[in-house]
Subunit: 424 residues, 2 copies
């Protein structure tokens, strides 16, 4: 009976704790019944009726797990659990349950339901933590990490006017979720409010799946910058203008798209650069395009690497103008995200937890944005990835096996317990 004290388990007995794989799978499947489109495909966009129903279901799970549940002014759903040591800051964990239009049932949901499963395991085993715990389901992650950004005090007032596919603006949506746009200040948690924040998430890439590894230890969430690139040449008759006399904006754009790819590949590191959108004007088969507008996106963990890659791309554009009779103009867009590094000590703790559980793991970066990115503004954060089948994401085809989800949830549980024991 030595490891038991007062009805609580401690020490070595805690190491044996595991999440309930079937229960986690079950809650995931039940949540998936809320928020489908007319054809039965997942469509639980933030502020939709399905989102509100799904949140009600999750709030019920939190209460079953013994948590005190509230909704903050930004619509974040928060379940709290007291700690045993007075004065310690809370440890936070969670994710989101809203999805992109016609998205999948794993992005955000796995991390949200795994956090609640952790609460259930703690409750069942009467584990008391030193730190108070906060289980957080952030509001409207897919529409601009709204809830976590509000919590970090970084949500711009003009964002409240942005309307998503439900037809509701963020401001209207916050009211629908039970928040209060007149009291958004109260949702802000100052820097240092949390001892740490942990998020489990599906990888949304194909690396873990392809390499057959269980756990991704996230080193950071890449920053991203967007530009609109306008290429101007001279529109002209495709029949009467000889090849040598053309100022073809689309041909110059084609060379640019190749140059972007070559430069992104040509540097050491994991930086990515993408041209995803293109329009050519006037856009007729028998007219040489006089103008092309395309998007440029660069992502990396380091702002300096983004700068360096952008400079190389600018040089290539300049070289293309020399012999093509075209001009290039770059307009930086406001849609940026700063790189967010995770806390190295938490990375180390995640590695220890995975190793103790006998799970394979690799360090990696997150190419997608997450709530943890904004939480990093106010707290040390850690992120745990589990495999995404085929790297598919933001699609009804998203899939992570119940075993992989449980592995991630076990790592989340034990990282939390290790931090609780070793951090103040």
């Amino acid at each position: 009976m030595g490891v038991f004290c007062c009805g609580l388990i401690t020490g070595h007995a805690q190491e044996a704790l595991r999440v309930n794989q079937d229960r986690l799978q079950g809650t995931l499947e039940t949540l998936a019944t809320y928020g489908k489109d007319a054809s039965g495909q997942p469509n639980r966009v933030a502020f939709s009726d399905g989102d509100i129903q799904g949140r009600a279901y999750v709030a019920g799970l939190m209460k079953q797990a013994g948590l005190q549940v509230r909704t903050d002014a930004a619509g974040n759903l928060i379940g709290t659990r007291p700690g045993t040591v007075a004065g310690l800051k809370p440890l936070g964990l969670g994710s989101h349950i809203d999805m992109v239009p016609h998205g999948g049932n794993y992005d955000g949901c796995v991390g949200s339901l795994a956090a609640i499963e952790v609460a259930r395991v703690l409750q069942e085993n009467q584990v008391q933590t030193r730190h108070p715990l906060e289980f957080i389901i952030f509001s409207n992650e897919e529409g601009g990490v709204m809830g976590s950004r509000a919590m970090a005090g970084a949500l711009k007032p003009e964002a409240l006017q942005v309307v998503n596919s439900t037809g509701y603006s963020m401001g209207q949506g916050i009211q629908r979720l039970g928040g209060d746009t007149t009291r958004l200040q109260e949702a802000i948690r100052p820097k240092g409010s949390f001892a740490a924040f942990l998020e489990l998430h599906i990888e949304q890439g194909g690396i873990l799946d392809r390499e057959g590894e269980d756990i991704g230890v996230v080193e950071g969430i890449v920053g991203l910058r967007w530009w609109d690139v306008t290429v101007k040449g001279m529109a002209n008759h495709a029949g009467t203008t000889p090849m040598g006399l053309r100022q073809d904006a689309l041909l110059a754009a084609a060379r640019f798209i190749q140059a972007v790819n070559e430069e992104a590949k040509g540097m050491d590191g994991k930086q990515v650069a993408t041209v995803g959108r293109i329009a050519a004007y006037p856009g007729a088969p028998n007219v040489i395009p006089g103008e092309v507008v395309l998007s440029l996106e660069i992502r990396d963990l380091s702002d300096a690497v983004i700068d360096a890659l952008y400079e190389r791309i600018l040089e290539r554009a300049s070289a293309i103008t020399q012999d093509s009779g075209t001009t290039f103009a770059f307009e930086a867009l406001d849609t940026t995200g700063k790189p967010a590094l995770t806390d190295p000590r938490i990375q180390q703790t995640i590695q220890e937890a995975a190793d103790a559980l006998g799970l394979s793991r690799r360090n990696m970066q997150s190419g997608a944005g997450h709530d943890a990115q904004d939480m990093a503004l106010i707290a040390p954060v850690g992120m745990i990835f589990v495999p995404s089948n085929g790297g598919i994401s933001h699609s009804p085809e998203e899939y992570t096996s119940r075993e992989d989800m449980a592995h991630g949830a076990d790592v989340l549980l034990h990282t939390l317990l290790l931090l609780d024991q070793s951090w103040d």
Copy 2:
């Protein structure tokens, strides 16, 4: 008085005939007053009220020139003048006065009004030709060379359903112009109906203007073929998909666009190939494009050259699929035009006329389609080009100087007279 006989001038006196430059310029300016849009820009699209008014003005000019005027069943406006030798087939000349939406006042109009100016000069100088003459203003050239195609017996019945920017179908439009869709057969002129057909036109390219030459002797009108090209890759998250694992349809399309340009330039000759339209799906800055659809157009005077260039482009596409994880599919579209060669004897006659007038000239091809292209199905044709300022065409900025127009009209007049005297 030796050169005069019976009130007619002949021989050397005919060589001194010149068109009236100011009168030609005046009729061009008056015609330009018909068919403007709300902002005063030229917009005389076929079947519009402006087109009907412009045709009425031109019919009046024909009558002033002593021509017998009628409208055929396809809406072609035809002015005839008798010849002196029984049994000779008519010599035809003319062009069109309709324009593309927001087009210019020179494309088609210069050739139409120059032909009528020729009739005026013949009338004023009491020149009688051996052949009967037909001055033809073809209907709806810009909407698919409708009138000339109908005259050649090549207008497909389904074309009558095609609606242009006026909202009228070709069938409705023919009725509006005074034609009769129930009697289109009567508009057909069998092969061999004309001794020859001549068309004067602005170049619509920049070659004569740049080289400072007066007259283009057209060797032929290029054929054109269109394809829709679909590139398929794999849409994926632009943040989580490493550069090396992408199947980027837009990157493959960019390589293809360059390959099209390289192959068109890499062959000897004047062939041109153009990608003018492109769409990438899903088309978001943060998603790697999974599908691209683009247009491919190839033009040349020779079908065999078009075939050969297309084969080379297919090979390049095939090479791109090898290392990009993408596929290419080519769909040939119905929008084709066969190459039309002009008659070498008429080319020679145009050269002689230009030389006798002291005008500089060069042989060239027409990269744009013209009524002469379909008339070549039923008659030996010749085409005369005059300079387009800056090569601009299908735009309100179109411009040809009054001197250049008069030079072209003089060449048209003397080519007609030379053919009349030497041909049977």
